[in-house]
Symmetry: C2
Subunit: 516 residues, 2 copies
């Protein structure tokens, strides 16, 4: 059937057909059709919505995101037909049945995810099946390669190319802002793609965006890396491993962390940027994705194993994840803190130490330092001011203003300090609660919003001492965040006594314990 295009300004994927045309075509709302342009030869598959009035008979409404692929013009004539059932559905079914997927099966699934041939529900079925019937290392390798192949890739003539990754789950983990400049200052190339926060208070890309644009194509990332030695960009804009984002969106409602999928996701991005050596930070703690050192070691071995299969040298660091890294949480607050460290401040120590440990691993893997001496070299580069200079270069190459300093960053104008209501110790800092409060205050969308911790786990406080300050760009957001803080009580201050367990057994004075 041939239909005339009407571009519809709905920011989604979708196709709008008149009832009558849908009926003639033999499709119902929700069915898949193929739309192809005789002009450009481009084609895509999309889902039908139907109307009796918004679109005339003989016309086809094309939503905004669908037209990003088709680049149709108003009144152009397109060909439409009912889409075939994608064969990748059979492979997803195979995984439901507990069978092992071949490299070709996984390639078909990933290709259909990237081309939006699979619906969100169908992607969910893949995610859930491979969550319950875990992917083995062969499948993980296939998934990694398929995600790489279906996106853009970088290639550098010089090497070794360095990359790093933090598994996440720890608030305030801004170390990339320090690690990337250190590595680039050492003379190595580090094309770092980062994520935006999904559930957190700010991903590295959200932080960097305070200082410079972060959305670039893969080839721009390559050029900028060659120029400045490193970049810190948002991976989502690059078309590097694009299947990954579509998969992650479906995991989000269930807070699924499918280990195989996560490993493939991380390693695909590293492989696609051409990394030779990769340092991976695995925070371990009560509120982290990894809860025990044993789990962490197992995960590390899987990363290393997959690295070998892909010819990348991988090393992992299990890091302390029970407390935020540094004291700042939220885009501008974290940028301010990272800049102050680059400028030479000797606090917060947790941020400096962790950055140097991770940068050190990468320097050792790349042959810039002997085993055990990487962290010292990293600290030396940091102290020398070369990392700051490199960071300003990176900001400049990405199109930001390089005359920035920690002093110049102004955080949210509305703030409130939560204080200790008794004398005692900070005995619990719940990462989840801290993130919730920061998000309620507006982070990461409101750049000035977030938290600054005055006290961390184990700190002794007197009544009235500040525990943390909440910052917000908007007053009503601050009020909401204060309410949340009262409800969640993220930092508990008590006497030395944590709890009393009363003994309900009768106590008879003078009677020996062993009598009965």
């Amino acid at each position: 059937m041939r239909l005339t295009v009407r571009l519809v300004d709905i920011a989604a994927r979708g196709i709008l057909l008149h009832h009558t045309d849908a009926k003639s075509l033999g499709v119902l709302a929700g069915d898949r059709i193929v739309i192809s342009s005789p002009v450009t030869g481009k084609a895509t598959v999309d889902y039908v919505e139907t109307t009796g009035t918004l679109i005339d008979q003989g016309r086809i409404g094309v939503y905004h995101h669908t037209n990003e692929q088709l680049t149709l013009t108003e009144n152009e004539v397109v060909e439409v037909r009912v889409a075939d059932r994608p064969v990748s559905l059979d492979y997803i079914k195979k995984k439901m049945e507990g069978e092992k997927l071949t490299r070709e099966d996984i390639r078909a699934i990933v290709a259909d995810i990237v081309q939006d041939t699979l619906s969100p529900s169908e992607i969910t079925a893949f995610v859930v099946s491979s969550y319950i019937n875990q992917l083995d290392m062969d499948e993980i390798e296939s998934l990694t390669r398929a995600m790489v192949e279906t996106g853009d890739q970088l290639s550098f003539h010089a090497g070794p190319i360095v990359d790093k990754h933090s598994i996440g789950g720890v608030p305030g983990n801004k170390i990339s802002l320090i690690v990337v400049p250190i590595i680039a200052a050492s003379g190595l190339l580090i094309p770092k793609t980062s994520s935006r926060a999904i559930t957190g208070a700010g991903g590295t890309a959200d932080l960097m965006e305070v200082l410079a644009p972060v959305e670039f194509s893969a080839s721009e990332v390559q050029e900028m890396t060659i120029k400045a030695g490193g970049v810190i960009v948002w991976g989502g804009a690059t078309n590097i491993a694009p299947a990954d984002d579509k998969i992650i969106i479906q995991e989000y409602p269930f807070k699924i962390d499918q280990i195989g999928q996560m490993i493939a996701s991380v390693m695909a991005k590293k492989f696609a940027v051409g990394a030779d050596v990769v340092a991976i930070d695995i925070p371990v703690g009560k509120y982290c994705k990894v809860h025990t050192i044993e789990e962490g070691r197992k995960l590390a071995r899987q990363f290393i194993d997959l690295g070998e299969r892909l010819n990348m040298r991988v090393e992992c660091a299990l890091t302390y994840g029970d407390a935020p890294v540094g004291r700042a949480i939220g885009p501008k607050l974290e940028i301010k803190e990272a800049l102050s460290v680059l400028e030479g401040s000797d606090s917060p120590r947790s941020l400096i130490q962790k950055s140097c440990v991770i940068a050190g691993i990468a320097l050792e893997l790349a042959g810039k330092a002997n085993r055990g001496e990487g962290a010292n070299l990293a600290l030396e580069i940091l102290r020398s001011g070369k990392a700051l200079k490199k960071f300003l270069e990176i900001i400049a190459v990405q199109g930001g203003t390089p005359d920035v300093s920690s002093e110049k960053i102004t955080v949210g104008e509305h703030f409130y300090t939560v204080r200790a209501d008794s004398t005692g110790y900070v005995i619990d800092l719940n990462n989840h609660s801290l993130i919730t409060i920061a998000r309620t205050a507006g982070a990461p969308a409101d750049h000035g919003a977030g938290l600054y911790l005055h006290a961390k786990h184990g700190t002794s406080l007197s009544k009235g001492d500040p525990i943390f300050t909440i910052y917000a760009d908007r007053k009503w957001r601050l009020e909401k965040a204060i309410e949340e803080a009262r409800r969640l009580r993220p930092v508990m201050v008590e006497g030395m006594l944590i709890d009393r367990v009363p003994n309900v057994r009768e106590w008879v004075p003078g009677r020996s314990r062993n009598l009965e």
Copy 2:
């Protein structure tokens, strides 16, 4: 936030917001919001799409199906807020983890499915999880009860109320058109809700629609059943166990038949119409849902067990499923065949026998016949003409024209007969292929389309004898169906020799078989 309503004629669920309003509200395309009307107090949760032009700032576009729940009027002001994360997501996650769900967990999931609080992807996650981590009988019972409770129910003062169900998978299985009139003619009540074809060439509701309307509310079904003794309506219109349809839609792409889900789905509908006795037809065969007699027996026991938990007397018949029932496939062709049987024709025997067996079981369970004598009583009622009279009454009560007869039904005007190209036997009738050809010819949407089989499995044919005739309402559909028939070759006609397996071992004359 308060926004003014603009009704949008898109036949889907959905909410359209201006970018700016979405941003102020803090939602992205795809997020869930709660819309409530201060006028009616009605509220619903739905997904946001965004636009820069289709809707002005301060206005909210409400799609057609969303407004079916809200009944908003143009320019009404509604209240919107970000929706909370539904707690049922945690229960779905629990099932992913392989844990057993409680009655309350399942009730929460089903309630959220019915209220469209869960997205299609989230329903898929439930479907896939309970496909991989099979539901046990407690969970199946909970699911059944929850599906009943979240919909309308019938209640009759007199009893016993009879119901029947066929598991499906066999083309031409029009027995309800004969069973329901027999049961009603015996003086029992049978409020039969049927399905439309999803993957088949015609569900019972598609067939009945040729003769009378089939879309009624639950209370109309109740009234009509009291009046005529029975009805044959489309279950999808009744709001009886409405969760079921929403679940089935998500199973469809993967051809999932989750046994627990299927049992709950069937039994919820029987329970909700107040059935006391239920006869269940389980076709067994190569192309059916159930492939072996053992599987069939196991499934039968599950139905009976669940029946006991719900206080319904259930009996199951394992039936021959390797060939179509009768000779006609497609709405008008099947109606014509069923009417001819009701009018007294003594063929096709498979249709008469199967209808009487299933009706007989119901008559025995309801105490109208002694054990083993039900089928004879059913045949007697059929032969007496009482079933035909009752069927015409049912057509009348549903608002159809009761002066119908098999003679008056005209099938598709375009037809083509496939003939044997050699002399031999019909050795394979592939149900799937027959259905595909009938669907390609236009069934079930084109009522006159379908197939009529002249020869069934084992029939001896001479070259040029007719095998089957394809009927279609539209010429181009007939042509497509002929093409499909050539491609699929559903009926193979060969000599007596099915295959030769050559013996590749050397044969030495005179040498004893036992020598070596």
